[in-house]
Symmetry: D3
């Protein structure tokens, strides 16, 4: 990717904190773009994030998404705690003199809105390939947990940092991490101790599926994966994402039933014959917009 | 095993596409037997498969099952797409001129029947040790996901291949794979990209629990494991399979409760005293038929 | 730890089969103490265990718990089968001449009580770091599955031994192990075969998160981890344990909702500002009793 | 209906214990036909029942089903206890000298098969209108619980009779009755006391939705209802049955999601325009086979 | 209410199809206002509906909501089918020449958005008292199912009308009605037959909890109920709504746990002492904004 | 019952606030006995309640339980608010100066303990017949929701009173009432408005299943029902209670499965043949202790 400037993705120039480009056909690249602040998040950013992924979710020009952070130092250092302590409505609510029930009500609404913004990445109908590098703590874990495939650079330093600021993580890490990797002992260790873990450890426990030498190579690999996926049938790819997310949260019996109903509609696509024919003819298939 | 011809298992000679033998006491060996077509499945085969495993499930002569594919080249290359495109009622339904709702109804019934055939392996009351080798794609994953223990030969080449023919896998892989291995990033990667993964990778992520040098050694190891299990109390073994499958799909609280009720009946067996006594006397226990 | 005698934890001297000490501020060390019998459990012990962990759960002097076994040979060799066969009310019930329904009723009540005793470790509000060593079979797995973080010594020999005495494990292993590690093939292999696995294998599959050279070093590492956690905000730590356990057993949507409600109350603590301030001032924070 | 002999439904003449006729277009009438024994069930009958409803489920000539009992005296008096005590494999198993675990295994398989036979009525894709009359106890409740709409004659005498023969009902009544009517106090009263309740009480608590003067009028009303439903879009009707059964067993959120996927396929039918057009033209619509 | 013109509720004048007034302190009255078209819904209306109830949900000036339909003839006659057939994107999608999978995708998104709009009434944190009158079919049931309390006028004519236009209701009726009333036989009857039922029948089965002589009296009773609720502690009232909705969709154990966590925050309000003190002093309590 | 003094039930004389007698063979009568305070509950009482029902649950001399309140005026007027405001640890906690998280933690533990005490009535293995009379508000609903069968006297005045003291009911009413009666509109009405409802209304919505002229007659009817149940097979009766409670909280599929496993043990009783034989011989059966 280095050296070339990918063209902007049409319809996304309104966003302030994210660069959204189109590095290849049917691929969108969303880059968190606040590198001077280590890509830390202020409230306006997670509201933009929700809007971006809701738009991508139904954009027929997009079939796979690459999510990265700008700059060399961090994917994201998490919530901008300083900005939050100055402006955050929830934290200010907690400081007011209203009673605990009223404070809790504001907190609850605030947490649900924040969760919903991050969850937009998971609910986006298109697969999201997330590439982590450098400092990747707090919200970096909440956010990357919502991606479908996680790759990282060798220099990545990760931590579920929330206990160190006196709170249990509530934007998604504690809900998703136990289902993203296999070792519950490891999950509890990193969540209770807030200790750092590196790329090798993330690979060993399965949090990421590949580690690359540096950020550039990791991003290149992520893009390659996104291109590979974007070339396939969007009906097949988006169904696969939906059904895997459903399976994570349901029994096998429930999931089989849901799958049958899903595919009773989705098999009625021209993609099956396009794919089969292309296979026989040894050429790349093209698929209708979805 | 090489060199000796295991005797056929009584009552199973009626099946056309599977060899069913008895290589050891209380062990059944089910071999997919269409090696010239890479053990690919036609409709008659998955209907036979259901019938075989339903029969094994309640056959008191069987306490452990080994599942393998005939020939050197493939465990199975999946659905016989050519045969399916010629004969498959669902695919033909999709080509008819009836409306989308009516096509969907036929599709749905078809998928549920196909799922049920594969699920028969999981619902079989006896443990199933599956040994993969060579080409093991598509239905190979759906099917081996239903086995209890998976081993493989070093030459195994696996892939969740369905997106490459334009559809989301709907016979079980997407429902079971997220619960068979720990890394959701890896699961999504292989399901969305349809890329191949080899024996070493399958071991690293935990899809198989052992890799052996070649097919013969893998099958021998699988048989050894089946024999080991078949020598144990069938009450204990079959209860263990049932309770582990239940646990996968339920909360710990639900699972503990179910376990208590299960064992309130199943502890009333003579196997406990047989096992304890044999332990003291340093001899192999024998257990009543189940 | 060697050489120094940690002081007893106040209020726990009444227990006979467990040493309960306070090796560091806010840390409790629970040691199974029946080394001559390989720390095997008799009924009085699991009833004590429940009582101890219920007491620790609400003891404001305790913020992290270390769980180990006394002596060099075993964490625990499981149920004291000999004592059980002589005294166990359930086993005796099974031998009486009452009908199967009545025996089952006694069995069921007995299993539920036994389960509840072991589950007390999981339901304890404070994190439990379990250090395994030597023989660690049967109940050792049930029990360590309830801990939050598992470490072990290099000499640890583990097995889900129950099928070898003619029964399916019913005190928790079969309910919790499939959710503690990622490879279901491995889980079924060890549960169906009752084979031993060592520390290295336990690490590879993620059952333990660290292996140390010997018991002393493993216990030291466990203590260090407990101290690290005990120094953090108890509101954050206990919330993290609760939310991770909830997530294991619920869908992500359910878990996010529960998390929001939990934190709407728990963010109303002084711990957030204490933690932030200490961070800025580079000193250790102190937190109010919880 | 009296006086006219409805023609047999094609393809169902093989059944011995049930009369299966076609009293109107797209309506099947299944009559339990063992009136000399009060329509009590022997094993062959519930196996026939499963086969019949599985066949009706996919028969394009059938869009609504009427289920009644032959003769004046009983819908069904339940299991033929005398025949069961002589022939029933499960009861004989219980009398054998094998151990409790082995007996339980046979019992469990037997109960599951019996449940599955009765459940076939619920799983049948077409709506089932059940008309009760006279003695309607034991299996009568299990069976009618699986129907979609229940009507009865004024002379109906109902009871959940199982506790009076020393067992908890296990073929479906205890699973379905709490969700079929609103008053849990009433459900527990009739299930724990085994007392009779009459048509008026069944109507008051909502177990039946209509009471008619006598059997003939109740059957006529049931037929009228079946005809009304059979004239409507089969896509709409069968979807409605499926979605209501799903809703009973799932949260509203789950159910809404399932509904959306179901209808994404099922709205692609010509029935919507047929129905709308017929509405405008004030004529009866016709719908394609389903 | 007659004769007096309630003042508009501040902040809601922007809505075109709904009158939103404040007939009493802390009470909002939402009136569907398209009486010439029998209050039938066009797409713009259900989008407004969502916006209105999302706004009411967090408006501290509102503690109870009355929902009615303008004019004498109808609460609502449901979807404006004519407008829908001309403009509705989903129905047009179905008519296009794209394949079934692509049509299904648009349908699915459309249904989910429509569901979400109606669900906003249920998710609104404040209780909603719905008063039905006149024609109340199709969407009228979907919508009133989302209200908390349902009253109606004696002239109300209700029907789950969807099967008569060739589709299974998919905006909420089939998901919520089985949990709103007790008799599943009745639910299936009215959903499968699309027959009308009147106010008396609605009361008998519990769909409404009161029937009043005419619309004016029913609305007056609804307002009285809303005022009664609005005078109570908003912490208590909104918690009660939330916990009852949670209980409908969860097991009792889950619900008790959720309740405990909810109230651990919400009991920290001044409302308890305000309420107790007012009780002693025999005066109306006042409660802080929420 | 009038005029005769039932003998005390052996082993229950230690309880202070409850009279526990044995009015008939295998029947226990638990009477709330604080009539001067309208049987209102102080903390010591609900702790006694738990202890009593835990003891009854496994007492082989007891097969059915009658639960009533002493005196003419009230079943119970609920929590003794005055005593609670003076002594209650949770309410005092809320008044202390600790932070909201710490207060919430105490609250949560307190609510869970209180819930557990009331839930003991539901979890008791024997059926509980509850007879309400006079004032029956607040805790009276929480408590009677846990009983299996509810009867009442004509003078009963019921209310879910909690919102009037500024809180959402958290001891069980909101979790259980939506599943105890069919009309959700009615449930929400009485829970949100805290209005009284009388015996006739309680019968109409199905909260009670019988209304009797006065307390004496209601208690006599309750006793009669308890005797009827106590004469039946305890295996059948206790299984029926367990399975109905399970069904309330699970899908039909889950419930059928659980039922099969339950009965695979519980059918192995001598009660079936005792019951059948007694039926033939027209005499009352006797059943072994359970």
């Amino acid at each position: 990717m280095a050296g070339q400037q990918p063209k902007p993705l049409e319809g996304y120039s309104k966003y302030e904190y994210f660069n959204i480009t189109s590095p290849a056909a049917f691929v969108a690249h969303v880059e968190i773009n606040r590198p001077k602040k280590l890509n830390s998040f202020i409230e306006a950013m997670w509201i933009e994030l929700r809007s971006i992924f809701n738009q991508l979710s139904v954009d027929p020009e997009v079939r796979a998404i690459l999510l990265t952070g700008a700059g060399d130092r961090a994917f994201t250092s998490g919530l901008d705690v300083q900005a939050a302590s100055e402006n955050d409505s929830a934290i200010q609510a907690a400081n007011s003199d209203e009673d605990g029930a009223r404070t809790a009500t504001k907190m609850r609404r605030h947490i649900y809105e924040f969760q919903e913004c991050i969850t937009a990445v998971e609910k986006c109908e298109k697969p999201v390939i997330c590439v982590l590098h450098g400092i990747s703590i707090g919200l970096a874990i909440d956010l990357s947990c919502c991606a479908d495939v996680r790759l990282c650079a060798a220099d990545t330093r990760l931590a579920v940092k929330e206990v160190d600021i006196g709170l249990a993580a509530d934007i998604g890490t504690l809900s998703r991490l136990p289902k993203a990797v296999g070792s519950l002992s490891w999950v509890k260790d990193v969540c209770l101790s807030a200790r750092f873990f590196d790329a090798a450890e993330a690979l060993r426990v399965g949090y990421v599926s590949e580690v690359h030498e540096n950020k550039a190579k990791a991003v290149a690999a992520g893009l390659e994966r996104a291109i590979l996926i974007a070339e396939k049938s969007p009906v097949a790819v988006q169904g696969t994402k939906e059904l895997l997310n459903h399976a994570r949260d349901h029994s096998v019996d429930e999931s089989l039933r849901y799958t049958g109903i899903w595919n009773s509609a989705m098999l009625q696509s021209s993609d099956v014959s396009s794919a089969l024919l292309s296979g026989i003819q040894k050429r790349k298939p093209t698929f209708e917009k979805l």
